[in-house]
């Protein structure tokens, strides 16, 4: 038996290999610890993402940067530590431009998987929306800097046959970026390029023609995973209690595509029972423009892209007790927020100024007293009003939506399955 020594993890003494990396030691002891940049054989460990932060002898440490040493006392789970680790994932989501719905790696992405595993419904940090490059110049690869989390795996791992580095960090601070060497990259074989794509935990490195992830349902994070419940049967609506007044629900779609409303309707036949418990007030389903009574719950789809969205959202906040932001767009802007890194003028000119076969060659940007004005960015609803619940997805699974609704309206407990908690 190799060199094991006793250390304490969360109050329990375990035997661990002396000198073993702490992430591995913690996992070998059967305790969950998330990691992202950690890649076993890279020495010294990268220690860039900080997602594996634990307390070692009372000191906050990235577990991957520490080794098993005699007398160690390790704490992996306190409420604070969990929040701090989740904070790292949330920071990464806020820093880059992570559009899960349109990403090839979605479903196989470790950052996304961590978000699911740690239960990140919405990032507490406002997204930065910095314009980042998509580099098409390399021969085999396309590098999408919107997604890079600067874990550094590619910098340390990917070398040509004669030992030359292909990737390197350039610049500093918030401008830090992974650049690729255009002379060395073509020397990589296809296998080596594919390997680079696979060791990248996110969808930043794409090999042309090889980057589409597996079909929905067959991807890594579609599979039942440790810590999640299995999928359940159809959605059930509670039976109405005699004499109980119907709950009043308002809904709206701001800058959304309506997919979330359609997902709401994917409750199918159950809606026949649902309408005995719930009545819709102001809603695309009812067309009541002014609130004529206070509503229990509001379902908000879509973010705010123009002045009318802001007005409507504020009106909903005033008239409804609980606001639920449904879908990526409502939470942080979603796909329409792809325009956030581009000046609004450019978007307008592209649609109206350079449109094909324009009459008279004159540029007209729509602007009228009966039209709302456009905001400089698409904003998530929580930047405008307090939001009480977030349901991620694009669109969220119907079961997820109804579980939360039932919980909010009727106090029903709920457990989400891995299939129901998605960002795409």
């Amino acid at each position: 038996m190799a060199n094991t020594i006793p250390i304490i993890i969360n109050g329990k003494t375990v035997q661990a290999q002396a000198g073993q990396n702490l992430v591995d030691a913690i996992r070998d002891a059967g305790t969950f610890i998330p990691s992202l940049c950690y890649y076993e054989h890279i020495q010294p460990p990268l220690g860039t993402c900080r997602v594996c932060t634990v307390l070692v002898n009372g000191k906050p440490t990235a577990a991957c940067t520490a080794k098993v040493r005699p007398g160690q006392k390790i704490v992996t789970h306190t409420q604070e530590l969990e929040d701090v680790r989740k904070g790292m994932v949330e920071m990464l989501f806020a820093e880059g431009n992570h559009f899960c719905p349109a990403c090839e790696k979605s479903g196989d992405c470790d950052l996304q998987g961590l978000g699911y595993r740690l239960g990140m419904e919405a990032s507490r940090f406002p997204r930065l929306f910095v314009n980042r490059l998509i580099d098409y110049r390399p021969e085999r690869m396309v590098i999408d800097h919107n997604r890079c989390i600067r874990c550094r795996r590619c910098v340390e791992e990917v070398v040509t046959e004669d030992g030359k580095a292909v990737f390197s960090f350039v610049n500093r601070g918030k401008d830090t970026r992974v650049d690729i060497d255009y002379d060395e990259e073509p020397k990589l074989t296809e296998t080596e390029a594919m390997r680079a794509m696979h060791i990248c935990p996110v969808g930043a490195i794409l090999v042309r023609g090889k980057s589409m992830a597996r079909p929905v349902g067959e991807r890594k994070y579609d599979q039942p995973a440790q810590g999640w419940e299995k999928a359940e049967g159809p959605i059930e609506v509670p039976k109405p209690r005699p004499g109980a007044p119907k709950k009043v629900v308002a809904t709206t779609s701001l800058a959304g595509c309506f997919g979330c409303h359609m997902s709401l309707l994917d409750i199918d036949e159950e809606i026949l029972d649902a309408i005995e418990l719930v009545e819709f007030n102001r809603s695309p389903l009812t067309d009541i423009k002014q609130f004529d009574r206070r509503c229990d719950v509001a379902i908000i789809e879509g973010g705010c892209c123009n002045s009318e969205n802001v007005e409507v959202l504020r009106a909903f906040r005033e008239n409804c007790d609980i606001l639920i932001a449904v879908g990526e767009c409502a939470i942080w802007g979603g796909l329409p927020a792809m325009r956030n890194v581009i000046p609004i003028e450019e978007c307008l000119l592209e649609s109206y100024g350079r449109t094909m076969n324009l009459e008279d060659g004159q540029v007209v940007i729509p602007h009228h007293e009966d039209l709302p004005e456009l905001l400089d960015q698409v904003y998530g609803c929580q930047e405008i009003v307090r939001i009480d619940h977030f349901i991620p997805g694009c669109p969220p699974d119907a079961r997820h939506i109804w579980k939360i609704l039932k919980h909010v309206l009727f106090g029903e407990a709920y457990v989400l399955t891995h299939e129901e908690f998605k960002y795409d």
Binding site: P44, G47, T48, C49, R50, V51, P60, A62, T65, K67, L81, V84, G87, M88, M91, L92, A94, E95, R124, F125, P126, L128, R150, A165, V166, F167, S168, F169, V170, N171, R172, G173, K174, D175, T176, D179, I180, D181, D183, E184, S307, V310, R317, E318, P343, E345, L348, L349, V363, I365, H367, E373, L374, L375, D376, Y379, Q382, E383, I384, R386
Partner: protein, 551 residues
């Protein structure tokens, strides 16, 4: 490309190093490269007008060269001349107390071909307060060699014991016991050891090391010699920040003098003669290189990124060999300890912090400059000596330190109170606290090395948050959020920069509750968040206006 081939590296690796440092330009930066510093003291002294004057006189816009390529105008962080703001570097020569008129005249001279070295300002020693002879340690008379004489009677161990007895702690901000550090290095096996002098004084508002390097370089050199003697190291470097390049001739001259006198090189006279060489390495504009492991990486020719702390530098440091790294002032103080005796040093100061230290005081005061104080001195005294009036806040130890309320007259410079790393920046009542803090946040955002998530992203996120607060868009939640976000950064950052980045903000919130209540508490309706709607609509309105022909 040539460099890449010469060192058998890929081009992108070379670019990686070059792009890390602010002073390495990959495009021509003008025959005269002008750096204006963006520290808060510069801002308060009228740097905006100076910048406008430069732009007009040179024809260059900030961040670019003028069309002829004669002048390049750039922004940089504090250049260590806080007592003489507004200050700039032109071809790394110092220019101080600039005014628009001065600028105009200056540029005219440069155009006529007068070299910047001839036009540069003299930098005074600027000693504003020194201690009486019984108490003064650093600011007292000194002749080169003065502290090396005792070595003729002391063995390396005995010399080390003097350092230990003094209780001297590092002056760079970490306050690690110097004797302990040198002993640990001594005890490491092997012959190859190094002494590194951290002269990367990058904390905005700090310029005490500048003074020492300019006016008392011999003290510093001798301190390094003592370190070499006691540890067995034979080679050392002074890592000099690029902004102090104008100090290089003086430093080189001092070193030359020591070589000529036999106090450097082979066979340095002592009870056990020894060999020691000192080189100088210039930095290239990166605050984070003041972090010791980052500095070592930089010295090794890499990007100046802090290392994962698997080993202390005394175990495996520069070139993975035992290394002593200390601040300029620490070496100077160490030399004095050998000269005056460890017990004498230990008799000064307080029970927790021995001896004295230098402060660099600047900002809203009549006597900016260098102050030597004994530990235990009240803040109020320093403010008094400095001629500070109507003070509102004092930033201790620069942006990574504490924002103290000037009316807290009980605060003292000591271990468990103002454990100051050197910088004391004074702000009067007319200054806006949020603007100051915003300046600090931007500083960290630019200076982060970028390797770890919490510092790289966290600082940027904080900058944006302060942006919002400055526009009056604060809400009640912000207080809790700032605490929460700061805690995250502090627990997860890879090095001290990230951990300390929110210190100023947090301490300001604690020390100025009334001020921040105005920003956090303004929200009447906690459910409706403040939002600058008109500002958000402005881009669209401008776009429409442009197509309609009316801007």
């Amino acid at each position: 490309m040539q460099l890449a081939r010469q060192y058998d590296l890929s081009w992108v690796e070379v670019e990686g190093v070059a792009s890390f440092y602010h002073f390495f330009h990959r495009e021509p930066a003008g025959r005269y490269t002008i750096y204006l510093n963006n520290s808060i003291t510069a801002e308060h002294s009228g740097m905006a007008d100076v910048k406008a004057a430069f732009e007009e006189a040179t024809g260059a816009r900030l961040g670019q060269t003028d069309p002829t390529g004669t002048f390049g105008l750039y922004e940089t962080a504090c250049i260590g001349l806080s007592d003489l703001e507004p200050a700039a570097l032109i071809n790394f020569q110092p220019f101080t107390q600039l005014t628009p008129q001065k600028v105009k005249a200056l540029v005219w001279q440069l155009r006529r071909g007068v070299p910047p070295e001839l036009l540069a300002d003299e930098i005074p020693q600027h000693i504003q307060h020194s201690l009486p002879p019984e108490q003064a340690v650093l600011l007292r008379p000194f002749e080169p060699g003065q502290s090396l004489e005792p070595l003729l009677q002391l063995s390396p161990t005995e010399a080390l014991e003097q350092i230990e007895a003094s209780g001297l702690r590092g002056m760079g901000g970490a306050f690690f016991p110097v004797g302990t550090k040198w002993r640990l290095c001594r005890e490491q096996p092997g012959d190859e050891k190094y002494i590194l002098c951290n002269a990367d004084e990058g904390e905005p508002g700090t310029f005490k090391d500048r003074m020492l390097l300019q006016y008392l370089p011999e003290l510093v050199i001798e301190g390094m010699i003592h370190a070499a003697y006691t540890t067995g190291a034979q080679e050392g470097w002074i890592y000099l920040r690029g902004e102090y390049r104008w100090l290089l001739p003086g430093l080189k001259a001092a070193l030359a003098h020591y070589y000529a006198s036999g106090w450097l090189g082979a066979e340095i006279p002592a009870q056990e003669p020894f060999r020691f060489d000192i080189h100088i390495q210039l930095g290239a504009g990166a605050y984070v290189c003041g972090e010791e492991t980052a500095m070592m990486n930089s010295l090794e020719g890499l990007r100046g990124e802090p290392r994962v702390r698997t080993y202390f530098p005394v175990e495996r440091g520069f070139r993975q060999k035992p290394t002593v790294i200390n601040n300029v002032e620490t070496f100077a103080a160490a030399a004095r300890v050998i000269e005056l005796g460890g017990d004498h040093f230990a008799s000064l100061g307080t029970s927790q912090l021995k001896g004295t230290r230098l402060l660099s005081v600047a900002g809203d005061c009549t006597h900016p400059g260098i102050y030597e104080i004994e530990w235990g001195t009240p803040l109020a005294d320093v403010l008094d000596w400095a001629g500070a009036e109507s003070s509102m806040a004092v930033q201790i130890s620069g942006p990574s330190g504490e924002c103290v309320n000037a009316s807290y007259s009980h605060r003292r410079f000591d271990w468990d109170d103002l454990r100051c790393g050197g910088a004391v920046t004074i702000f009067n009542e007319e200054r806006d606290l949020l603007r100051i803090l915003h300046n600090f946040a931007r500083f960290f955002t630019n200076e982060s090395c970028g390797v770890c998530t919490p510092c790289r992203a966290g600082n940027f996120i904080f900058s944006r948050k302060l942006d919002k607060l400055s526009k009056g868009l604060g809400r009640a939640d912000d207080y809790v959020e700032i605490q929460n976000w700061s805690n995250i950064m502090r627990q997860t950052s890879r090095c001290g920069l990230g951990r300390a980045a929110t210190n100023a903000l947090l301490s300001a919130i604690e020390n100025f509750p009334g001020y921040f209540a105005g920003y956090f508490g303004k929200q009447d309706n906690k459910l409706k968040h403040p939002f600058a709607l008109d500002e958000a609509l402005q881009d669209y309105r401008n776009a429409v206006g442009r197509t309609l022909g009316n801007e």
